[in-house]
């Protein structure tokens, strides 16, 4: 990133001059030509300034070779400036060459951001500051505040142009002096403590500083060859696109300081070739752009500020320290009027790896830059940091800010000493934590995270036990976010003026294909159009019966009667001699019900049994119809037979009457096997009664006779095909019929009976 100009005797100054001026070698991305480095309106002013200075400082440093000049010529400014100072210096002799160079470097170099323009002119007269040890930065305390407003590069340039070119170096040192420090170091407290947390400083401390260069004085012979190449701002790589202000994939957007906004305009970072003298006391340095990476800090410090062309051995790392110090001193300020950028203890080579813990040699610095942090919001653009990534700069500023508030409470002390700590900002940590929390959203934590919940409960209990609940808040509980109950129903997108629902759908909002609406018929709405007896209701009635019946048999004898009564009463409404037809039908319409009745009848008291049988007889046609599928009415035969045989004559007659019932019922009865059987049973019983018991009252009223007559009539009339064969034919039917019908009919009846008997 930094075009480190090696300024040995083969310095390609001429070549570079030519490079700049040759039209056919124009590089589009070269800032020198087209970018920031191409500002070339300074040189005249610079020249004037320098000229004035030269005249004033005749007894300056003297003896400084042009090597120094060449070195100083690097950095800000422009190409053509280079030409002038050397000649000027040469004119005045070597003595004031150093002066002019220093001035040039400190004053005109945009890379060294000057703080405080007004100091410039005023300082012209002051001439060279006293020897290095006296810091002068405290002389101009008042200059700081206004200059914190100066944030833009343009403003800085303005300052430069104002020609504040006193011989004020950053730390009021002679730029030739070793304030940037090569060599093992006296740690000047001010700077170091300011920057104690900065990665750079600690690195610098670790690394140590390069050795002091030999004094420049003896380098007269190096002249043109040592001249500084034209100041260049560097594009990071020639031919590469400009650095993005916010690179792709940046996670949280850092808050941009005011300064940064200006800086966004500057895409090409400028090199940190410090050439011009600093304007005046950089007492209040612009705050560091946040978190310059240590390497870049080193690069910053790598200004050839007070160096002559380096000996070859000096590597970039070392020279960067100069920049660091310069920068740092500007950044940190000098609260206690300390001597200037402290030099770091030499530590041997750069020890990037932690075979030992990073050495911390900075003394504790309780004071910190006193006013620095108050004014941070608008840091002055450090032009030697313009090469930095905007985020780096911001982060560095942020870190600087945070340093100010960090006093005492050294919780992670080693961490505070760790120069690379807090690379991840608080905001970023929160961002990651937020994403992680999003995964924990849950409507039912016990379902989603059973083990964690249990673990936490156990832990809490244990803590309560241990601490007796004194410190309740000991463990902080992880509060997972609750899932918002959102409306998830689909609402089709509707646009005004459109017809219907448009096909606007997405992954999260899929389109419904059909506007189906769920309709469920409630029970109220269910209406039977005709009086059908749903099987459900039948079974629901029957089932309890069966249960009851079961209990009847299962229970001890004493309860039987009671249960039976209950059973019966459920069929037959109490206090009525008729079985409720509806109930009976319901029960009998299911097969189970028929079986139930058939089981029940034997256990019923005779009267009730008779009632039941009556009911059956009465409803026989309907039952027969229902039974068409099941054909299980015949289960009833046996019990019914038993009942019939126990019937009295009157009830028998009633039964027969019931059986015959309405008009046409008998024919239906005859069609049904059970019906026929029942009929025969009745008749047979009647016959038996008559034949056995002379006092039978069956004949007392005419009903029996009439009924029998109607039966015979029916039997005679019914076609043989429709006469259903009974289960059995009692033998005494003929004798019964013989009483009532004449011989002819009797024979017919006989045939009928026989047919039925035969067909069975």
């Amino acid at each position: 990133m930094f075009r480190f100009q090696s300024l040995d005797e083969d310095c390609t100054l001429e070549k570079e001059e030519g490079l700049v001026e040759e039209e056919d070698e124009i590089d589009q991305f070269n800032d020198d030509t087209f970018g920031d480095g191409a500002i070339d309106d300074d040189w005249q002013e610079e020249h004037k300034r320098l000229a004035e200075l030269e005249e004033q400082k005749n007894d300056g440093l003297g003896g400084l070779g042009l090597g120094a000049l060449g070195m100083g010529g690097m950095g800000g400014g422009n190409a053509s400036t280079v030409h002038l100072p050397p000649p000027a210096s040469r004119e005045r002799g070597g003595g004031d060459l150093a002066e002019s160079l220093a001035m040039l470097i400190l004053g005109a170099d945009p890379a060294i951001a000057s703080v405080g323009g007004p100091a410039g002119p005023g300082d012209r007269s002051t001439g060279l500051p006293p020897p290095p040890s006296v810091p002068q930065q405290h002389h101009h305390p008042s200059q700081l505040p206004p200059h914190h407003q100066l944030t833009s590069y343009q403003q800085h340039q303005h300052l430069l142009r104002r020609g504040a070119a006193p011989m004020q170096q950053m730390n009021s040192h002679n730029i030739w002096e070793n304030n940037m420090g090569f060599g093992p170091v006296s740690v000047t407290p001010g700077l170091v403590t300011q920057m104690e947390d900065s990665p750079l400083m600690s690195i610098i401390k670790e690394v140590g500083l390069p050795n002091r260069p030999p004094p420049m004085m003896s380098e007269d012979e190096r002249d043109l060859s040592e001249r500084a190449p034209p100041p260049r701002s560097s594009s990071p790589v020639i031919g590469s696109p400009p650095v993005r202000a916010v690179p792709i994939g940046t996670p949280p957007k850092q808050l941009m300081s005011h300064a940064m906004n200006h800086h966004q305009q500057i895409h090409h970072p400028t090199t940190v070739h410090v050439r011009a003298p600093v304007h005046h006391q950089h007492r209040y340095p612009p705050s560091f752009p946040e978190r310059i990476s240590p390497n870049t800090l080193l690069n910053i410090a790598n200004s050839p500020l007070c160096r002559r062309p380096f000996p070859a051995g000096v590597g970039p790392v070392l020279s960067q320290i100069h920049r660091a110090q310069m920068l740092n001193s500007q950044v940190a300020g000098f609260p206690r009027g300390c001597k200037g950028p402290p030099l770091l203890p030499g530590g041997g080579g750069f020890r990037p790896f932690f075979s030992q813990p990073p050495p911390h040699r900075m003394g504790p610095h309780p004071g910190g830059p006193p006013t620095n942090h108050n004014h941070v919001p608008c840091p002055i653009i450090r032009h030697n940091t313009t090469h930095l990534h905007p985020q780096h700069r911001r982060m560095l500023t942020q870190r600087m800010q945070s340093r100010g508030g960090y006093r005492g409470g050294r919780v992670g002390d080693w961490r505070s000493r760790d120069p690379y700590s807090n690379l991840m900002t608080q905001r970023e940590k929160e961002w990651v934590a937020k994403i992680q929390m999003m995964q924990l959203q849950s409507t039912d934590p016990y379902l989603d995270d059973y083990y964690y919940q249990n673990y936490f409960e156990k832990m809490e209990k244990r803590q309560e036990r241990d601490r007796d609940g004194v410190r309740k808040e000991h463990t902080t509980k992880l509060i997972t976010p609750q899932v918002a109950k959102l409306e998830h129903t689909y609402r089709p997108v509707q646009f005004a003026g459109s017809l219907g629902k448009l096909t606007v759908s997405s992954v999260n909002n899929p389109r419904k294909m059909i506007d189906t609406v769920v309709t469920s018929r409630t029970d109220d709405e269910v209406r039977t159009t005709h009086t059908t007896i749903s099987p459900d209701s039948c079974v629901s009635r029957v089932l309890p019966f069966s249960l009851l019946l079961f209990f009847v048999f299962a229970s001890p004898v004493t309860n039987v009667h009671h249960r039976l009564t209950r059973l019966f009463s459920s069929i037959c409404p109490p206090l009525s001699c008729r079985v409720s037809d509806e109930q009976c039908l319901l029960i009998m319409s299911v097969r189970k019900g028929k079986r139930l009745i058939s089981r029940l009848i034997p256990f019923l008291p005779p009267l009730q049994a008779a009632t039941v049988v009556m009911g059956i007889a009465r409803n026989l046609p309907a039952l027969a119809k229902k039974d068409k599928q099941d054909q299980v009415l015949c289960w009833l035969v046996e019990p019914v037979a038993v009942v019939i045989s126990s019937l009295s004559s009157a009830s028998l007659t009633d039964l027969l009457q019931e059986l015959q019932g309405t008009e046409g019922q008998l024919s239906r009865v005859l069609q049904n096997k059970f019906g026929v059987t029942m009929l025969y049973l009745i008749l047979s019983e009647g016959e038996r009664m008559q034949s056995s018991d002379l006092n039978c009252q069956l004949m007392d009223d005419n009903r029996w006779t009439e009924l029998v007559f109607s039966v015979t009539r029916e039997l005679l009339n019914v076609p043989p095909s429709s006469l259903s064969p009974p289960l059995f034919t009692p033998p005494n039917l003929l004798s019964l019929f013989s009483r009532y019908v004449d011989r002819q009919r009797l024979e017919l009846l006989q045939e009928k009976l026989q047919i039925s008997a035969l067909s069975r």
Partner: protein, 133 residues
């Protein structure tokens, strides 16, 4: 600030020295500087530590960015307890040499095993430990 107490969030591990074992078997030791939601890790001042027997060697690697899916395990190292009683640190060259020898020996035994199996008519397909396609 206590980030997500009771969880294994890596936020509290930041700026601490960690040892991470990767899926390809490498062991890295470094300061954990940054994480993200995928547990991608940014290690600083990373050292790859190779263990062979009781010897180990550290190869400095600088800054490492580890993709989260390649992490097998990650554990904090106590800086204060930095002495390895049992293990003996050797130079990089030595440990690499040792590793090479170890690999060689392993390959030899593996080869011998395969040959022996082949002679007996069995062929066990080599388990593919690496996700190489």
């Amino acid at each position: 600030m206590n980030y997500m107490p009771g969880t294994a969030s890596l936020i509290d591990d930041i700026d601490k020295k960690h040892l991470v074992l990767l899926r390809d078997g490498r062991t890295l030791i470094g300061f954990l500087r940054s994480i993200d939601q995928f547990a991608n890790l940014v290690f600083h001042q990373t050292v790859e530590r190779i263990h062979v027997g009781k010897k180990f060697g550290d190869i400095p690697r600088g800054i490492f960015i580890v993709r989260g899916e390649n992490v097998v395990l990650l554990g904090e190292i106590d800086i204060d307890k930095l002495c390895d009683h049992i293990l003996q640190q050797v130079s990089i060259e030595e440990i690499l040499e040792e590793q090479r020898l170890q690999q060689q020996a392993k390959q030899k035994t593996e080869k011998a095993k395969v040959t022996a199996l082949k002679d007996r008519g069995l062929s066990i397909p080599k388990a593919d430990n690496l996700d190489e396609y």
